[in-house]
Each structure stands twice: as structure tokens, then as C-alpha cells.
Amino acid sequence: MAAAPKTKRSADKAEREQVALKSLQAIATQVYTHLSKAVIPEVQLPSRNKGNIVFDEKHRVWKYGAEMTTRSAKSVDGAYMLLRTMYLSDFIKEMIDQNKSSTLREMYYISEGWDLAKFHSQDESDLLGEDLEVMTTSMREDFKLRPEENGAAIVGDLKVVETIRNNQKRTLHCQDDVGETGYHIPYNVEPDRLAFKDVKADFVVAIETGGMFARLVENEFDTKNNCALVHLKGQPARCTRRLIKRLNEEHDLPVVVFTDGDPWSFRIFASVAYGAIKTAHISEYLATPTAQFMGITPSDIVNYDLPTDKLSEQDVDALKAELVDPRFDDDWWRGEINLQLEMNKKSEQQALAKYGLNFVTDTYLPEKLTEMGILK
């Protein structure tokens, strides 16, 4: 089954769900037709690996290319995948009919009752959820599947208007109405669930670690510099990336990403700015192409003489993989990655505390942001 070209998503939820149902039905029909014609059933979907992502000029993000993989019932794995697809489709249909939704974790546990088709780990079930997105034009949310709340948060001078139970609306100011952990980003941040109001912040700083996020909040970096702080909480969830993208697109806020200085953090930046490999089919919804990497850069490690750790074997492998990753294929990244390989060292964000608790807010960030043209 060829991946259907992505059509523009409808703004209407019910309509989107009907589209989702239709595409799932199409998959079942294909399997059934194969079986009744004595053809070994199979479906096709774009290969979901680093070798098959290409730059989408229009959206300026990285998306899956033309390479397809076939999931065929000829192999045991392929047959299981198809059987699970049937069960999952059936389950989704049921949820849509009853207007219910389930978390990915619940879906994994529901499969306990699917006999042969049951999943052996949540990774398996999460992956199939993504595969379904890739095979159809729909998104996870249209399938009534949602992730766990992941605790990512935002602080800054702006208001959010939430749709809560019974379609009531509630407005919160993301400094005055929230505690020091900020406003918790819900899993669904689509406009029908969440709107922005009175966005006064000038730019967004997306921060990898909870420790650094708390430091900036305590040092009142958001009020002193009139910006929004977003806690990414490691590899950012879809909703966090979507929220950043909306602030960037709808309110023209520049975005800078502030992470540790190691290859894994570079990937966090890439998923915010360019699109993640796992979700390349929806990069245009999630990625913020104008987001900039602030640091910690390998050059920062040298320039600020930060405390370091030695690179592990895995770090080195990850850096080398990035050297052949199309998303990092530019002079600046190549220079930084090679520099890091050369010095064989990495640093954490919080290593800045070497110069005192205020160094990051008084010196490092102002210097870096000025250099990037965001602070004047």
C-alpha cells in the first residue's frame, strides 16, 4: 500500500476521525483482498530510518523520502504486524464510535486481550501507532491515542486559554497563575484545545534539563529579559514541540535551544528545529525551522573553560553518526562536532555553576543571546 500523499488536515475533529476510519478500513480491505486472491498479504510504508529523510523545501523541515518498506505476512514478524494492525484498527473504530480515547500505555495493556496479537512491550505498541500514522494521512490524536502527560512546562509573560471539562474555557497567565514549576503542557495543544492570548514575551528559551529550568526561574530570567522559558524534559514530546512551533509561527517569537554539550543534546535540538527521524511524517506540524542552537556548544566548553567529562564510546559513535546525518550536514555543525571529537570532552549545562549560581543568567545567557542578535 503506497503512502497516501498528505492532504491538509481538516480543522474539524469529527471529520478527521472519519478520515482516519476510512484509511484503517482501506488497510483491512487490502489484507482481505490479498488473502482471498491467494496473494501473501502485505502493506507498504516509507522506510523510517536516517537514510530515508530528505529536506522539504516548502516547510523547511526534514521528512521521509521515497524509499518504501514492505511488511509482508511472508515473515512471522510481518504477519504479526498485520494481525496487530487489524486488532488496533478495530479498537480505534470502537473508541471513535464511543467517543473515548486511551493513552498509549492503556492501549498496550488493552492488547493483553488480543491473544496472538498482543504486544510484548510498549515500544512495540507505540511503534505500531506511529506506523499507522505513516501509512495513513491521520495523526495519533485522530486515532484517539494519546501519550502520557510528560511534565514539560512553560513560564513566561503570556496567557493560555484551555478548553477544560464540559467544553468550559479557562485562562491562565503563565507567570502569575502558575507555581514555580510553570504551566504544564497538556498532550493536546491544537487550537481547539489551547489558544494563546496576550503574548508579551519577546522570545523563547527551550531548556533541556529540569535543573537549569529551575535555575532560570529562580533567577527570574523570564521577567528580567522578557522571555518564555520552556522545559523540554529531555527528548521533547510532540506536544512540547508543537507548542514551541505555534508560538514561533503564530506569534513570531524567535526560539533558542539551550542544552547540555553532548551529541544526545544535539539530537534534541535537531528534533525541535529540523524534525525527528521517528516523526518525520509530521515534521511540518512539529518542527520549528528557525530555532537556533545556543549551547552548550563544544566551542563554549573551550571558551568558558567548563568542567568536563570524557566522551564515552557511545558518545563518540553518536557524534560520528551525526557527521553523516543529513540534518547536521552544514559547516557550522561539522566544525563543532569535529571539535568535540578532537577534544574528546563533553559538559553539562549546569557546569556553568563553576562560576557561581548567577553566572548563567548574568553572563553566559546575555553574552550568547547578544551574540545571536536576540538581546540587543
Binding site: 512471522v76 504479526y80 473504530k93
Partner: protein, 716 residues
């Protein structure tokens, strides 16, 4: 025995006169120079005989006594029933060991010589395959006991019904190497018709593990499948190592020395003792494999007249010795050896590895061969799988003349050769393709010979002789090929049985579910099943054994020089019989029918006129093999089942196209897709469990599409 040379002083007569003044220093030294008896020598050098540690001493004592019992029983055609007891004593470091057999017994006048005198025995001068060789074994145990605990041994023996059992306490005078016997008496309590019992108290330690008395007996039991051992350990636990066959091994025969294995000194001694008046007579009668033609050739090569052997000078004997090496001499006879046999080694291994439930056992008995003029024969076995540890080095069970070798493994020909095989080709792990392989396996190597070249008197390791290593390697490789085939078959089965799950479980579910979602009827899957499977699936045979009460069956003895099992063309023509002409052997299995069948199938190519046959208890093995065609089209092919050469074909349904010594062959008619077929056949004259791992082959079909049988390569 180099160290046992006498050191005596010379009398002064022939010595040059000493110069005036001080006596030569040698005179002073001479005062300290005196005879050392053999016994005294061993008293000091006990490690030579295997008594280096208390743990080892226990095993050595048990080994020497059981070796003797087994030798004696074999010589007398008795099924051995040996009792081994180890008791605690008042002293923690002393153990009392009793070994009792049901052998022929020992006449009273020899008891002292056998148990109380070193270097006294019946095997030293005889060239034959036996456990005992040197006449040291049991008297060394008596000596060791006396030395370490001060206790005499107690020997009881009875030589037959009507003779009393004699009991005597036995010591050894080490200075004179003579027995000292006390308190000779009749033992009224003895009940067996004949047998010998020895009790010794020695300094020893009982422990478990690989080099333990228990493991020694377990291993001994594997290579002596006709013997029963009952073991009582010092904690009171009794273990019976039961026999798996009631057949006493064929008695080994004594042969004359072969010229190639004879040293110069021996030639001189033989010549001196010769009864013959001429060298030709001496050569043909005192040596094996020398005919008058060869004798003449030897003499002319040695440039010797046909003189009286007694007149042979040292120099002439040396020329004779050299001529032995130059003239082409036939190999020594090999029918004097008594290998255990593939079926019995397998059954022994199977019984003693039951606790690890191995998935596969294979055994190989090589044809006899010769090293340095001595006939020898190698047997190899591999036990694989079950709960054997997969991450550890494989274990090697080494044997020589049916005796386990527990020590000095590193330098042993068997170990060295195991390390020389590239096991990776056969499915075991091995770093770099040599050294000890790793994997869930036990290897067995048995070398039987009229003379096993041990590295020391303790008979713990086989010296690496080129000829022996070559045979061991060939045996290991052959057995390893069986293992490799088994593993390949298993891997293929595993891969295909995944597909079984696929077509039998997942696909039907997929059909049901997709049909239900669309509200349509469930589609038929049979074509898709064949498309996905695309194999002919042959199940492993299911074998059942039936004992035919009170009957025996006459079967051919295994062909002596069977070359890798490929039947010679002549033999094939004779051995083959049309299944239709075999009516009388079919249906009810009777003794006559088997015997006839056996005679009919006996090879007649140059072999002795009367085929050699052997009486065996009649066991019938019924095998059933099921096969299914899971391919898109109809399939026909030829199907082969290998049967033991020593078995007799009885019947089969459907009828095989061909019945041969080593195999049966069916023409399988075109099987339609998803069609099943079951074959059954019966053979007699096998041991129970002897055909558990039947090898099956196919021909006339693409082997890649067959699971459960290998491609037939013309009967190799």
C-alpha cells in the same frame, strides 16, 4: 622402568690397582652404593603409579582393582558384576576400600605373587588388548596401603563351585619384593560361585566433582556397557551403574609381535630363546604378518644367511632390525581388537548422560589401524545439548582399552587432537579455529590397542603418536559431521516451524479478523499456506522397540574394513534384494526368517566362504516417518533411511524400492499440495535404543525445499 636399574658394587678384582697412599675416593663412595629393590623404588616414587595425592589415591586404588576384575571377567566370558565400597575408618585421613567381583577367581598359590609382589602378572608378555599391562597395578595398591596406614590388605578368592573361598591377609616385603601372608583361612560366608575380593586401607580422601570415584565409575560404565557396578560411598549412598547389554565383549586374542613394533633388544632376546633352527622359520613363526616370501626379502635386505637365530650377533640383529623398516610388511592382524561398537557406546553414553537429557548423541567406530607395528582402533562419541552448559569448554571423556583417563589431560593425544579440529565448521564455538571448543557438548575418545603408548606407568595419558592422532581426528571429524548435520537440520526446522506458527495460527487469525472487520466470509488459505511454506516437511522418525521373547537373531558381524560405509559394487549387487522376493522375511518375525535374511544379505566378495554371523537377542525396531508436501506443485522424490549394517530388514509399508545393507529406499509417488504420507518399517537385530537417531536422505528434489532430511550423496 628406566629408574629401576640395579646399582651394585663391583668386586675389586678387575679394578686397576690403587696408587700408594690414600685409598681412591671411589672406595668411600662405594660404601654407600647398594641394591634398591623395585618395591623400595616405588615406595619413594609413588606418583609414578598414580598415588600423588589422597584424592587421586582413592581413584587409583579403585581403578586398579576394577581394571583387573573387568579383564578377568572378559577373559572368562563372565558378565561382570562388581561391587565397590568405600568406608570411613577411625582415622579421618584413612579409607577402607573393598572391590569384589564375580570373575574366575585366583588359585591360592598365586595370591601372594599377584597381590604381594610388584611386576608380576599375566599381561606383560602377552600382546593383546587388555586393561592391565605391567603387573604392577594391584600390588602397588597393597604397597601404598601398607606404607601409608600400616594395614595389610585382605584378599578373598574362590575359583569355582566345590572349591572353598580362601581369605588371606597380605603384606609386601619391600626389600625383597616378596609377599608376606598372614592368617590364611576359609571364608564360609562367601556365596558367589567364583570371584575375588580385595580390601585395602589406604590414606585417601573422598570427594565429588569430575575427578571423583563416582565419575570414574560412571565413565567406566559408559565404555563397559556389559558390566554392572554397585558403588557404596562413605556417606552410605549406594549407586548402581546398570549394564545396558547382556553381551560379553568378544574375547580379545593374543598376537605375535609385529616386526615394526619390535626393538633391537627384543629381537636379540627372542632370537636367543628361539626354538627354530633357521632365521626364516624364526621370522615367520615368532612374528605376525611375516610369510616366507617376506622373510626371504628381509634376509636379503639385511644381507644375512639363513642361519640359526641363536647365532645371531648383535651387529647382525641390528641389520635385521633395519631391514624390518625397509621391507614392505603386511600390517598386523586387527581382529585381535575388541572395540565397543557404535551402538553400545551410544547406549552407554545415553544412559550415563540421562540427567542432562541431551538432544543428540552420535558415535563412530573407526576401522582398525596400526601404529608402530601395534594394531589399534579408535572410537568417538559426541553428546550434545540438553542442560549441558553452553558457555563452557566441552568436556572430553578419554579412554584407553575401556579404562577412563582422568588425569594429565593436557598432554594426551586425545585432547591434543580435539584441539586440532576446526569445530566451528560443525557448530561449536572455538576461538580462532583451534584449541578447546566451547558449547553444550561432551566428547568421548576411546583408543583400544594391543599396546597403548601411555606417557607414564600410571597410565594416565596417551602419548601423541602421529598414526593415533590421525585416526582420532578422522573419528572426531566424522562424528562432528553428524553433529553439524543435526544442527543444520535443527536450524532449518526452527526456521520452518516459525512458518508453521505463521500458517497455522497467525494467518487464520488474520483472515478471520479482517473478514470480521469487513463483514465478509473468511477466505480459504490452503494455497497461501503452500506459497509461504514452500517445503516438503519430514518429521523425525518415531521408533518403538519390541523384544521378541526367547528368540535370537543371526546377524552379520560388521564388515571389518568397511570403507566409510560405502558398499562396494559387488557387495551391493549381492546384498540387494528385491522387496518382492523378501516375502518370507515379512510379516511375523521368526528366528529362521531373520537368520535366512541375514545369510542372504551377507557379502560374498572375497570374504570367508561362510559369512560371519553373530547371535543377538531379537529386538525389533518399528519406525514411523511422516512427511507432508507443503509446496505449490505435486512432488515426487526418492527417500532413504539409513539402517545399522548389523541389522536385518523385516518389513515396510509401503514397500521400499530397494533394500540394502545400509539403507532402505522408497520412490515417493507424486504428493499433492498439503498431502501427507506415513512410512513404516521394521528392522531386527538392533539393540534397544540403537536406532533412535535415524538418518534420512532425499534425492530427486531440490534439497533447499526439504526439511528433515539431507540430500543423498550416494551412501557415504
Amino acid at each position: 622402568m628406566a629408574g629401576v636399574a640395579k646399582a651394585t658394587t663391583l668386586d675389586g678384582a678387575g679394578e686397576p690397582k690403587a696408587k700408594k697412599g690414600k685409598a681412591p675416593i671411589a672406595e668411600t663412595l662405594a660404601l654407600a652404593q647398594k641394591e634398591i629393590s623395585v618395591a623400595e623404588f616405588f615406595e619413594r616414587n609413588r606418583q609414578i603409579l598414580g598415588f600423588d595425592s589422597p584424592v587421586k589415591a582413592l581413584i587409583t586404588a579403585i581403578k586398579e582393582a576394577t581394571d583387573n576384575s573387568l579383564d578377568a571377567c572378559e577373559e572368562s566370558g563372565i558378565l561382570p558384576d562388581i561391587l565397590i565400597e568405600v568406608h570411613k575408618t577411625a582415622h579421618a585421613d584413612e579409607l577402607r576400600i573393598c572391590v569384589e567381583d564375580n570373575g574366575p577367581g585366583i588359585v591360592k598359590r598365586q595370591l601372594g605373587n599377584i597381590f604381594g609382589r610388584l611386576l608380576y602378572g599375566s599381561r606383560f608378555h602377552a600382546i593383546r588388548q587388555s586393561r592391565g599391562q605391567q603387573g604392577i597395578g594391584i600390588s602397588a595398591v597393597v604397597l601404598y596401603g601398607q606404607l601409608t596406614t600400616g594395614h595389610h590388605a585382605v584378599v578373598t578368592s574362590k575359583i569355582g563351585v566345590g572349591h572353598p573361598a580362601v581369605r588371606v591377609e597380605m603384606g609386601l616385603n619391600t626389600k625383597k619384593n616378596e609377599p608376606e601372608m598372614f592368617n590364611e583361612a576359609m571364608d564360609e560366608s562367601w556365596t558367589k560361585p567364583s570371584g575375588t575380593r580385595i580390601e585395602v586401607t589406604i590414606k585417601a580422601k573422598f570427594q565429588g566433582g569430575r575427578q571423583s570415584a563416582f565419575e570414574f565409575l560412571r565413565s567406566t560404565s559408559i565404555v563397559n556397557p556389559h558390566a554392572r557396578f554397585t558403588f557404596l560411598d562413605p556417606t552410605g549412598v549406594k549407586t548402581v551403574f546398570e549394564r545396558v547389554t547382556d553381551e560379553v565383549p568378544a574375547k580379545t586374542t593374543e598376537i605375535k609381535p609385529h616386526p615394526h613394533g619390535t626393538e633391537l633388544g627384543t629381537i636379540l632376546k627372542m632370537a636367543r630363546d628361539a626354538k627354530q633352527r633357521k632365521l626364516t622359520g624364526f621370522l615367520t613363526e615368532e612374528f605376525s604378518s611375516v610369510g616366507s616370501d617376506t622373510a626371504r626379502k628381509i634376509l636379503s635386505e639385511a644381507k644375512l644367511e639363513n642361519v640359526d637365530p641363536k647365532d645371531l650377533s648383535r651387529e647382525e640383529a641390528r641389520r635385521l632390525h633395519e631391514a624390518f623398516a625397509k621391507v614392505k610388511i603386511m600390517a598386523p592382524p586387527t581382529d585381535c581388537l575388541s572395540p565397543i561398537g557404535e551402538q553400545l557406546v551410544r547406549r552407554g553414553l545415553k544412559k550415563e548422560t540421562e540427567d542432562v537429557s541431551p538432544e543428540f548423541i552420535t558415535t563412530v567406530t573407526r576401522p582398525p589401524s596400526v601404529w608402530g607395528g601395534h594394531p589399534f582402533q579408535v572410537e568417538v562419541g559426541i553428546v550434545y545439548g540438553g542442560t549441558l552448559p553452553a558457555e563452557e569448554q566441552v568436556r572430553i571423556l578419554r579412554f584407553a582399552n575401556r579404562v577412563p583417563l582422568l588425569y594429565q589431560g593436557g598432554g594426551c593425544a586425545s585432547t591434543v587432537t580435539v584441539q586440532d579440529v576446526d569445530w566451528r565448521r560443525y557448530g561449536l564455538d572455538q576461538r580462532g579455529g583451534n584449541g578447546m571448543p566451547t558449547g553444550p557438548a561432551i566428547l568421548l575418545v576411546h583408543v583400544a590397542s594391543t599396546k597403548v603408548p601411555f606417557t607414564s606407568e600410571a597410565k594416565e595419558a596417551i602419548a601423541p603418536m602421529e598414526e593415533i592422532q590421525k585416526e582420532v581426528k578422522l573419528g572426531l571429524q566424522e562424528a562432528a559431521r553428524h553433529l553439524g548435520r543435526h544442527l543444520a537440520k535443527k536450524a532449518k526446522r526452527a526456521k520452518v516451524s516459525e512458518k508453521f506458527t505463521l500458517v497455522n495460527k497467525i494467518l487464520p487469525e488474520l483472515a478471520k479478523k479482517s473478514a470480521a472487520m469487513l463483514g465478509k466470509p473468511t477466505p480459504d488459505l490452503s494455497t497461501i499456506v503452500c506459497k509461504i511454506m514452500d517445503v516438503v516437511w519430514i518429521e523425525d522418525p518415531i521408533v518403538a522397540y519390541e523384544k521378541l521373547e526367547g528368540q535370537t537373531v543371526m546377524v552379520r558381524k560388521k564388515a571389518e574394513k568397511a570403507e566409510a560405509g560405502a558398499p562396494a559394487p559387488g557387495k551391493e549387487a549381492k546384498g540387494e534384494k528385491d522387496a518382492k522376493g523378501d516375502k518370507k522375511a515379512k510379516g511375523k518375525a521368526t528366528l529362521e526368517a531373520f537368520a535366512e535374511a541375514a545369510l542372504e544379505t551377507a557379502p560374498a566378495d572375497g570374504a570367508p566362504a561362510a559369512p560371519e554371523v553373530q547371535q543377538k537377542p531379537a529386538h525389533l525396531a518399528k519406525s514411523t516417518i511422516t512427511m507432508t508436501n507443503y509446496m505449490m506443485g505435486s512432488k515426487k522424490f526418492r527417500f532413504f533411511v539409513v539402517v545399522p549394517e548389523t541389522s536385518v530388514f523385516v518389513s515396510a509399508t509401503p514397500e521400499p524400492k530397494t533394500v540394502k545393507d545400509r539403507y532402505l529406499m522408497w520412490e515417493i509417488p507424486a504428493m499433492k499440495p498439503t498431502e501427507k504420507l506415513a512410512l513404516t518399517y521394521q528392522v531386527a537385530g538392533v539393540e534397544k535404543g540403537g536406532v533412535d537417531d535415524v538418518e534420512t536422505f532425499v534425492e530427486g528434489i531440490n534439497e533447499l525445499h526439504v526439511v528433515g532430511a539431507d540430500p543423498w550423496r550416494g551412501g557415504e
